[in-house]
Symmetry: C2
Subunit: 555 residues, 2 copies
Amino acid sequence: MTEKMNGAESLVHTLIAAGIDTVFANPGTSEMHFVAALDRIPGIRCVLCLHENVVTGAADAYWRMTGKPAATLLHCAPGLANGLANLHNAMRARSAIVNIVGDQATYHRPLDAVLTNDTEGWARPVSGFVRTAATAARVGADAAAAIEAARTYPGQIATLILPADTAWDAGGVVAQAALPAPAPHANVHAVEVAARLLRSGAPTMLLLGGAALMEGPLWLAHDIAQATGAKMLGPVSPARVARGRGRVPLMRIPYPIDMALESLKGIKNLILVGTTEPVAFFAYPGKPGYLYPEDCTVHVLARPDEDGPGALATLAKMLGVAEGCGGPRFRGDDEKGCGVDEKGCGDDEKKPGDDEKKRGDDEKKRGDDNLPVVATGAITPEKLAQSLAALMPEDAIIVDEAISYGRGFYPYTFNAPKHDWVQLTGGAIGAGLPMATGAAIGAPDRRVIVLQADGSGMYTVQALWTQAREKLNVTNIILSNRKYAILLHELANVGANPGPTALNMLDLSNPDLNWVQLSEGMGVPAAQAASMDELNALLKASVERPGPFLIELLV
Amino acid sequence: MTEKMNGAESLVHTLIAAGIDTVFANPGTSEMHFVAALDRIPGIRCVLCLHENVVTGAADAYWRMTGKPAATLLHCAPGLANGLANLHNAMRARSAIVNIVGDQATYHRPLDAVLTNDTEGWARPVSGFVRTAATAARVGADAAAAIEAARTYPGQIATLILPADTAWDAGGVVAQAALPAPAPHANVHAVEVAARLLRSGAPTMLLLGGAALMEGPLWLAHDIAQATGAKMLGPVSPARVARGRGRVPLMRIPYPIDMALESLKGIKNLILVGTTEPVAFFAYPGKPGYLYPEDCTVHVLARPDEDGPGALATLAKMLGVAEGCGGPRFRGDDEKGCGVDEKGCGDDEKKPGDDEKKRGDDEKKRGDDNLPVVATGAITPEKLAQSLAALMPEDAIIVDEAISYGRGFYPYTFNAPKHDWVQLTGGAIGAGLPMATGAAIGAPDRRVIVLQADGSGMYTVQALWTQAREKLNVTNIILSNRKYAILLHELANVGANPGPTALNMLDLSNPDLNWVQLSEGMGVPAAQAASMDELNALLKASVERPGPFLIELLV
């Protein structure tokens, strides 16, 4: 077999050998041998997307929900460029993606054919690893290296560029990627310092990111905070948070600069767990860039590439937080040293119901007894969040690109059934619909509900077609305010009293977008809702029925 | 005024002073001061697009039709990334664009806020000029330098990056960009060599690109070819060609590799006029990369950055091609030395009818007497081209992203009314609908007809909304074959007998896209046509009525 195998076939075999079973694809001519190899060799599900930014956003969310990297299949240079925005978001989420990009044949590149451009150069700013295969014989080994790089804790984008001749030449050799290593331990001295800061009595905050936002570590952090009087927050844009009844109701740093500064006011010690220093999303004239007070000490308990949950467990022990060993999920599990999830943000192998079995009576004590009920009447952001909390099924995945309209959703959904909240991480809008698509591929038994601002949704509206084709369990809620609302707010911040030119550039009416037509044009059934009652009925029907649906919410 | 002006205001004044009056915009937060300045200072038309790749594709075609650069207004890093594919096409078209990209404030960039990425690095592969403004006081001068760079013959992309603080800080100074210089003369020795080759009697071909594809230079080339027995061709992907009755019926090098090789077979001397050596679009196993025979000599008469029309005029004189002085347009104009158009590919100030006045009886002699008539019955590519030739109005602009379906359109439209043919130049699909949008903004009195493959059209479908908002005279013909037909062809070339996985990745049905719903969802009225008769009726009605329309042609 080996002597007859071409480079593309060795690539497919190497992916399969590493457990990679999903490729999000938008192929072009230079990828035809890769397509042919995927066709001949069973074992990989190929999901066609009609735009590269759907491919990359889907691969990002697939990782966030499964902890397994998907591969992409992108066309050379400008094809990759089309997918960079969601690769940027994936990079900020620290997601693992094996990003495979075709390219001109090695010997054709010097001829500068019109579709030639700098594939490597465009890939580099979003990739932790970039390699262009030189020969068919090297493709397998290069792919294994890319897979290993992608799975480096907590995850990164590994771009493998495949010149056409390295795909079609004979001589491919299958390689075996090493298994992913566990997360590196945080520095024990960092844990000691954190314990001292928490015991000091000075106002201290735990800022949690990455794997520390899963259910168990959040309880660890919660109990540490309870025992020491510390505060807890999440970053503005976490990749994935475990939420709902029986879980820790963690707030995020707010997006608006003044609210963000207020949220850290008076803090003297800021302890970072799996995240970086909080900074303003943008600079604003006369406002600080760092969000913590000038006299605040920043202490890194665990870097994003270190084991944050493990560091919290060690810290809890050091502080003698007896009750704090892992929250409901891990209660009664002390023998195993608070066995926090070592798989990073992907815990796909946890079965729905596992947690409940362990939890017992604790849930009622910790949960919110006020079960959510649907809201009625005119639509407001708070009511939307309330109905969402009431109607989302257990283990739902909420994908949040609601932008300005969704800023108040968080507190109204703490008492929802257990769910994961997956949101835009890098500020490059157009992630919501693709992420919903990839999350649904990764977690087919869970309902995905995407809260999608209309202006942002238009960037990657093509994702709806893949939802229809793959019959994905996604409920798309489009928040149709028909303007770039966040920019109107920002323009007001600038102090401008906008005239018609500015308003025209921030206004999405004239003509109004009709999302029902857009959605049905791509095969996803859809309806408008102009009141909470209409929304409630549509949302309830949608989550009870398999397949995708779109609700255009006229807000 | 100066001491109160901020950087953004100095930018707007500098653009206006240089005659730039159109901005294609997709703004974000870091561009709010630029938006506010555009709002306060009259003189620039701002055209909102719902995706950055619509912005950049529109700016490309605006240049191709007007010869004046538009400016863009793009959001930082990932915003620019979203527009790179059509910047790539614009680079290959050698279009001039003043590409303005916002960015993080200079002092905020080191904080690595989540929306930060390598704006300069992403811009460089498509730009002839990249500069990041350092202070508000420098913005005007930097903008003038960018405008001058963009207008360097024949045109290039000049990227000006505007950190937020350089826009909002006071101290802006307006600068005056230098007027564009005329095209540099080709080397006179190159003209002498070309004359010798043409006189040699060996099989010789003129390969024409850039400004040599305008009406006058094409006649010059035609007459040189007639006098010397040389052949003429255009490149595979020219940016703009003057075509129709009374103009030279120039063929392009075909896209398929075997046909491309055939088109240059037997040529001993290849003379390049404003274009580069012809190479295969992609490499194919066992096929050559250069399209000309191994024993062919390649001679550069004029590089793309030299005055191709001027070189043709000098060459015609040197060869004593008496009748060849400019064709109908310039006939009787010998006193002025065959005054070829010195404005490059933009000749917006030529009024419809100017040519006719000069042409007189020559037109009948040169034109095709077989006036086109509409085709009826079942739809074929040839019939579509024939009906297009019969129904397009005088001075139409045909935007061609028909891909595989449109390869045979050329010969069937030689006898159409005079028109310009504008096509995908860089192979990065998703240019058609944006280019149609920008062409219609640049040439509001002309009907734009875009021949758009369905798969490619989906990449930038958002362009339709801008057509609706701006009430543009665009007829969008979607060639709805519901597959990536070109890739099925390429897969067959690979020798694969495709199975369901491959077919699934190249098939756009399941579900079918409904282009009528997509179009109406963005405010562009639309209808389906399943026969030539239905197409004829819809096309005729559309070109007679102002505003946009979309025809989904079921092919």
